[in-house]
């Protein structure tokens, strides 16, 4: 049984006792008001009532630590999911790399990096709700040529490499780095036009960020979704 608070009890003491403030207001409601909207008086009574104002101020002061918790947005520590992801993906013994030959050596760029850049830029196109990026074909061994897709590679935009053609710059562990974008689009948009926009954005992005030249970007519209009210901005999931 709850002990009834004395006449000098503070608003905190009254919580859970079904006892009102001297002015008749319910302290639990005042606490709810503070936790949801802050300590601002919401009606004429509260604005003129010292009991209510004292209660609002006290609750606000005591609730401050919880506001700090709510404002804190901790992120999953980097790396906490790496082992799980590696297990689920499997670990390729022969990852795809694109290669840029420079004057003093060469730069290798993982195919997954290219795919991630492609996804990033595809997702930012208006009308795209979600996008997935991947290499169009994978699994070639070093030095293999793909007779069906002789040009499905990412090759260097460097003039010297261009002269050697895709095969020369296709990478040290694979010759198949063409990009496929799978996306969900807003219902009602011109899908061929959207695909063209996505393709242009991906080509420009990959070219700008990697110096590579995507020679094939296939776009698969996998789903159309009804636009959400009040939304028109592109999907975006990087940099959360």
């Amino acid at each position: 049984m709850t002990e009834r608070p004395g006449p000098s009890a503070s608003a905190v003491d009254l919580l859970g006792t079904e006892t009102a403030l001297p002015c008749g207001r319910d302290p639990q409601q005042l606490l709810e008001q503070v936790t949801e909207h802050g300590p601002v008086a919401v009606d004429d009574h509260q604005r003129s009532c010292l009991h209510c104002q004292a209660a609002l101020a006290e609750f606000d002061r005591l609730w401050a630590p919880m506001r700090a918790v709510a404002a804190d947005r901790p992120q999953a520590p980097p790396g906490v999911l790496d082992s799980v992801l590696s297990s689920i993906r499997g670990v390729s013994e022969d990852p795809e790399f694109a290669r840029l030959d420079e004057g003093y050596g060469h730069t290798r760029i993982s195919g997954r990096v290219v795919a991630a850049i492609a996804r990033h830029h595809a997702a930012r196109v208006a009308g795209v709700r979600g996008a997935l990026g991947r290499l169009d074909r994978a699994g070639h061994r070093r030095g293999d040529r793909d007779p069906e897709f002789p040009e499905t590679s990412v090759h260097s935009a460097q003039p010297s490499d261009m002269a050697r053609g895709p095969q020369a710059s296709a990478g040290v562990a694979g010759a198949s780095t063409a990009i496929a974008i799978v996306l969900a689009a807003d219902y009602g948009v011109d899908l061929p036009a959207l695909a063209d926009e996505v393709r242009a954005a991906v080509v420009a992005g990959v070219r700008a960020y990697t110096g590579l030249e995507p020679v094939s970007v296939s776009v698969v519209v996998d789903e159309v979704l009804l636009p959400r009210p009040g939304e028109g901005e592109p999907a975006h999931s990087i940099g959360s």
Binding site: V12, L15, Q28, L31, E32, T35, F59, L62, W63, A64, P65, M66, V69, D72, R73, P74, Q75, A76, P77, P78, G79, V80, L81, D82, S83, V84, L85, S86, S87, I88, R89, G90, V91, S92, E93, P95, S110, V113, A115, A116, I117, H120, H121, R124, A126, R129, G130, L132, A138, A184, L225, L226, R228, P234, A235, H236, S237, I238, G239, S240
Partner: protein
């Protein structure tokens, strides 16, 4: 221990990490496509150095239930990229809830890892009839509560449980409100804490929290009111 050339390097320690390794290995038997590995972490992903229009802010990830549903459908079909995207959208939410319910970073790591695996192996239980986030909240809360019960099999937590140790007065005095808030949260009975985390901290409506917890909406309201009252009383006792 390396398994098929894969080195597990769990941040979390203890039994759950080993169980994860076993579960993943079991799930991988002949069913998982092998694709090149990379990091999922967008903070180590692509620098956002592009020039998006100023009036075109990026939408926070995980805020589009239709896309979640689309991704979940692809995950059920075995799409690893969709899985990664789904996890990318929600991993911070998973970790955040686990951290606040469990009040232990190592345990939060373990639960986050367990949920990550469940999203790959058990997503078929998500029917799509409710929002993905609702399903996810339920999964995370249940995992957290199960972990707590496994760790403390004989401890009966009730609303009358009193803090075993005095509160961190010094933290309050020093203005370290975040630490004080987390400490107060950690000492709260779990059913009150979960209601507070879902509604007060995650912003769910009473109805959404009721769906997650499978209790009547009035129960959520009652728990939240008690949680708030207990918290301010506790903070005053520390002040």
């Amino acid at each position: 221990m390396p398994r098929n050339g894969i080195a597990f390097n769990y941040r979390g320690t203890g039994r759950s990490a080993r169980r994860l390794e076993q579960r993943v290995a079991a799930e991988r038997e002949g069913t998982v496509a092998r694709v090149p590995a990379s990091t999922l972490d967008p903070r180590r992903d692509i620098p956002d150095v592009g020039t998006p229009p100023a009036d075109d802010p990026p939408r926070p990830p995980g805020e589009d239930p239709d896309v979640d549903r689309w991704l979940a459908g692809r995950v059920v079909e075995g799409d690893v990229e969709a899985y990664e995207e789904l996890l990318r959208r929600h991993r911070d939410r998973i970790y955040r809830i686990a951290l606040r319910v469990l009040a232990d970073p190592a345990d939060a790591d373990d639960v986050t890892q367990e949920i990550a695996i469940q999203l790959w192996t058990g997503l078929a239980s998500f029917t799509g009839s409710a929002a993905f986030t609702t399903w996810l909240y339920r999964v995370v809360v249940n995992r957290c509560l199960n972990l707590r019960r496994r760790r403390r099999p004989t401890e009966e937590i009730t609303e009358s449980t009193q803090p075993a140790t005095p509160g961190p007065e010094a933290r309050v005095v020093a203005g370290q409100e975040l630490e004080a808030g987390m400490a107060a949260l950690a000492e709260m009975p779990e059913e009150l804490r979960v209601a507070l985390v879902l509604v007060q901290l995650e912003g769910l409506t009473y109805a959404q929290a009721a769906t997650v917890l499978k209790v009547p909406e009035a129960t959520v309201r009652g728990r939240l009111a008690r949680a708030r009252a207990q918290l301010v009383k506790q903070m005053r006792s520390w002040a």
